[in-house]
């Protein structure tokens, strides 16, 4: 047989082509890399660690898989996560038993950890056991899905695991899609466990042992983290690997610098800019600004219902009619978000959602009348506290509140507190009147009420103690019939308005500012970017 020799000119052409191709290689790495800039820092590679920052959640999402993950849906022009559309991540499929007490997961056969070993049901069991028993954040979260003990997880065969629930719980499955129940390579983790640290928490803080879309290339806490794509991973929504070869997550404390970087195209994506920077970037039109009202978060003005004079519901209602909502919305948020005021309700709350727009608006005459009814026609003195970390938004808000309440005789002293101090004050229930934000990863109506309006824990900001509300919220949790659930939810919404422990004011927008070539951004439950969602067009 004759070997065909490559003609000289063809060889030359190939050589030249190769030379040409190698020239833009460095530019190509830039295109295949996403540079994400954020104000906060990643402080651990194990998202379940106590004290985990929000930025660390997004790393956990990329480096580990969970059994399931959330789908996405359109909200206006934007994509947001969908609580009701769960899809498999490590689980290929799952079956819920007719009584709702057993969920049986079948694992994907091709799933491998980053060290090449297959993901087995034993790994899943070890990881879920860790999530409910080790001293970390997962236990409290999974409790909201009725998963509290290692006995509830059973290995059926190497590819099948069964989760047993004491009661059918609508939030059991969604809970497995949150950032805590990560599936860890149990053999690797166990080899780094010690008698004092059976769950390898110390080691996993600085190392990862997952099956996720990315592995950690380098990690400098407080500076930057570089992620490298796991080529074997194919669990994105369309069954492909993640789009970017590398992701650099960089901490840049100065918001103005982050805005400049994205505007000049040196960084690809930022989500936590100041509202005014985002507004001006949007009008300049050089970058893409995706503004999504945070539909699982609410900003509140809260009272301490156990403290005088706010133990009187009339006082709370009086203030609700004395807040300059429109001005606050403009001054604090530049109108970027979804207002939760100025609504009209005909007979009761119009929706079973949470939060819904409240039928309150600025009405000083009504406020004065309510204050007189409360027995305080001449008003009183109080302090309004907020977190320094939120000063951008809270400072103009506080000034407007002070001005407006002065008109009905309430003298407000504004108290700005560093974050740690504010958390302490709230935890000790010592702040009478303040503003805060709440976020629910699983934004179903009863979840909000159970977590933020009941109990003696920190998240019950208003210290509300209403047995009837507790009872309905608990019933709603296990209600399988959607119509009955909606009825309970509406009842809860009505009660929250009557009792007025807090005044929901708005859902601030999350502004994701990115270079125009970036695509696929989804607003996620943890209010961070899931790097697996985004790609360059």
């Amino acid at each position: 047989m004759k070997t065909q020799r490559l003609p000289l000119f063809q060889a030359c052409a190939i050589a030249i082509a190769a030379a040409l191709c190698s020239a833009p290689a460095s530019a190509q790495t830039r295109a295949e890399t996403m540079r994400f800039v954020t104000g906060g820092t990643v402080n651990t590679l194990d998202p379940t660690m106590l004290g985990t920052t929000r930025e660390a959640f997004t790393v956990g999402m990329s480096t580990y898989d969970r059994l399931v993950s959330f789908g996405k849906k359109k909200q206006g022009d934007n994509w947001v996560f969908d609580l009701d559309k769960i899809r498999g991540e490590l689980a290929e499929r799952w079956v819920v038993s007719p009584d709702g007490l057993k969920i049986t997961f079948t694992l994907r056969k091709d799933a491998k950890f980053q060290d090449g070993t297959p993901v087995t049901a034993d790994d899943v069991k070890w990881s879920l056991d860790r999530a409910v028993t080790a001293k970390q954040l997962g236990a409290a979260q999974l409790l909201t899905g009725s998963m509290t003990s290692a006995d509830q997880f059973k290995v059926i065969d190497p590819a099948t695991i069964e989760v047993t629930l004491p009661k059918p719980d609508r939030l059991a499955l969604p809970n497995l899609a949150t950032v805590y129940p990560i599936i860890i390579n149990s053999k690797v983790a166990k080899s780094h466990a010690t008698p004092d640290d059976p769950w390898a928490q110390a080691w996993l803080k600085e190392h990862t042992a997952g099956s996720g879309a990315y592995s950690v290339e380098s990690f400098k806490p407080g500076e930057q983290l570089v992620l490298k794509r796991n080529e074997a991973w194919n669990r994105s929504a369309d069954g492909k690997p993640a789009a970017f070869k590398r992701v650099i997550a960089q901490t840049i404390p100065e918001a103005a610098t982050r805005a400049n970087l994205v505007e000049r195209g040196d960084a690809d994506l930022a989500i936590d800019l100041q509202a005014n920077d985002a507004a001006s970037l949007a009008t300049k039109g050089k970058v893409k600004v995706i503004s999504t009202p945070q539909y699982n978060a609410v900003s509140f003005i809260s009272f301490n219902t156990q403290m005088k004079p706010f133990d009187n519901v009339k006082v709370r209602q009086a203030i609700a009619y004395a807040l300059p909502y429109d001005d606050m919305f403009k001054a604090a948020l530049f109108g970027r978000g979804k207002p939760l005021f100025n609504a009209t309700w005909k007979d009761g709350p119009p929706s079973a959602d949470f939060p819904i727009a409240q039928p309150v608006k600025l009405d000083l005459a009504k406020a004065k009348a309510l204050l007189a009814e409360a027995g305080m026609p001449n008003g009183f003195e109080t302090t309004f506290s907020f977190n320094l970390g939120q000063a951008n938004v809270a400072e103009p808000m506080a000034a407007l509140i002070k001005e407006s309440l002065a008109k009905i005789g309430i003298k407000v002293d504004i108290q700005k507190l560093p974050d740690a101090q504010m958390s302490t004050l709230i935890n000790e229930k010592k702040a009478p009147f303040f503003t805060e934000n709440i976020v629910a990863w699983l934004p179903s109506n009863d979840y909000f009420y159970r977590n933020f309006y009941t109990g003696n824990q920190r998240w019950n900001y208003s210290s509300l103690n209403d047995p009837k509300l507790v009872e309905i919220a608990e019933k709603a949790r296990f209600e399988a019939d959607p119509a009955k659930y909606a009825a309970y939810a509406k009842q809860l919404n009505a009660m929250a308005f009557e009792l007025m422990p807090q005044i929901p004011i708005w859902q601030a927008s999350q502004d994701a500012v990115m270079v125009p070539s970036l695509d696929g951004y989804v607003y996620q439950f943890h209010r961070q970017v899931d790097f697996r969602d985004v790609a360059r067009k």
């Binding site: 790495t29 830039r30 890399t33 540079r35 800039v37 820092t41 402080n43 651990t44 660690m49 106590l50 004290g51 985990t52 001293k135 954040l137 409290a140 979260q141 409790l143 909201t144 803080k205 600085e206 400098k220 806490p221 407080g222 500076e223 930057q224 650099i248 960089q250 901490t251 840049i252 404390p253 100065e254 103005a256 610098t257 400049n260 970087l261 505007e263 000049r264 040196d266 960084a267 320094l388 970390g389 560093p418 974050d419 740690a420 101090q421 958390s423 302490t424 935890n427 976020v439 629910a440 990863w441 977590n451 824990q457 920190r458 998240w459």
Partner: protein, 343 residues
């Protein structure tokens, strides 16, 4: 006694006498952090569903469940064995964090000090030579502006002009462009490390990155150095020996440099020591604006989060550096004016 021996003896004595002060700083910071309002355990147990139990867990992890005197003893024991505790903000050992971040702060401060010296000393001399003239006033105005404008304003302004508008400066984030790989760690000073491996491109990248923050810092400390130089130069120029030198017709540059400047340099050295120590701490705004991974911004973040260990570590570090700088200034003193070391 020889000059060297005297200097060494003085240095040793000064060092030993500063140890009680360091110990005092250690205990004082420890107690101060604990009386500050704000409970770190509550702050760090911030997960979506953390309750009392999580808060207690963090408290135990940080050792805050023990009585304060016991905590202090444990802390002193740790410091004695070279441990400064773990930071919850970064999740690292404080000693590791400081080791990693101190070179960044020092490199920035030294560069800024060098720039400030190169600019301020000639300016001061010039102003002194032309005392009362237009130039004198212009120098004064320049210095006043430098000291009046807060560093974060001048920093952001420099960023705006040189990065955002002109595009000459690299993006103002950290010590090195994210796409440049760092040199092997030898001293932690990027300029030195790059030079050691002979990586010109890397050196240039690090140098460019350093310029804006260093200039911002230098602007801030220009004033004290220039003013002191001017004042002590004026005093020296008006003294008898300069008059004598002039009268015997020595060249002007020789009078200014050898006779006046050598004598005027002592107060400048004193102020340099102080300026250096304050700069290292006052870097915080510059470090924030330029995302410079230094110790000052690290300590500020920790303070806001009531993260005890890093703040305590930082204060101890600053106190030690202060002691060290004073020693160095002392040595420089005796070199520049041997009379001082005579006891």
């Amino acid at each position: 006694m020889s000059l060297l021996a005297t200097t060494l003896r003085r240095t040793g004595r000064r060092f030993v006498s500063s140890l009680p002060a360091l110990f005092g700083v250690l205990v004082f910071t420890f107690l101060l952090m604990r009386v500050l309002p704000g409970d770190p355990a509550v702050f760090f147990a911030n997960g979506g569903s953390s309750g009392k139990e999580e808060i207690e867990m963090v408290r135990k992890q940080m050792g805050l469940d023990k009585p304060v005197p016991e905590q202090l003893l444990l802390y002193l024991r740790d410091v004695g064995t070279g441990k400064l505790g773990r930071s919850l903000t970064t999740g690292q050992q404080v000693t590791a964090d400081i080791q990693q971040r101190l070179p960044a702060s020092l490199e920035l401060t030294f560069s800024a000090l060098l720039i400030a010296l190169l600019a301020a000393v000639p300016l001061g001399i010039w102003a002194a030579l032309k005392a009362g003239s237009f130039i004198d006033h212009a120098v004064r105005l320049f210095c006043v502006v430098g000291v009046c404008v807060p560093t974060f304003v001048s920093g952001l302004l420099l960023v705006y002009v040189f990065y955002y508008m002109l595009g000459i400066a690299p993006d103002p984030t950290g010590r090195l462009d994210v796409f440049t790989s760092a040199p092997p760690h030898v001293t932690g000073f990027l300029l030195i490390d790059f030079a050691l491996v002979g990586d010109g491109a890397g050196w240039w990248a690090a140098f460019k990155q350093l310029m804006l923050p260093a200039f911002t810092m230098a602007l801030f400390v220009l004033a004290p150095i220039a003013r002191i130089t001017r004042a002590s130069m004026l005093a020296a120029l008006g003294s008898d020996f300069v008059r004598t030198a002039r009268s015997i017709g020595l060249p002007a540059w020789r009078i200014v440099v050898t006779y006046a400047l050598r004598n005027a340099v002592l107060p400048v050295l004193t102020i340099l020591g102080i300026v250096f120590s304050t700069m290292l701490g006052a870097n915080v705004l510059v470090e924030k604006v330029f995302s410079w991974p230094g110790v000052a911004s690290y300590a500020l973040d920790a303070l806001l989060a009531s993260d005890y260990a890093p703040v305590q570590g930082f204060v101890l570090l600053m106190a030690s550096i202060f002691v060290l700088v004073n020693l160095v200034v002392d040595i420089l003193y005796s070199i520049s004016d041997p009379r001082i070391s005579i006891e």
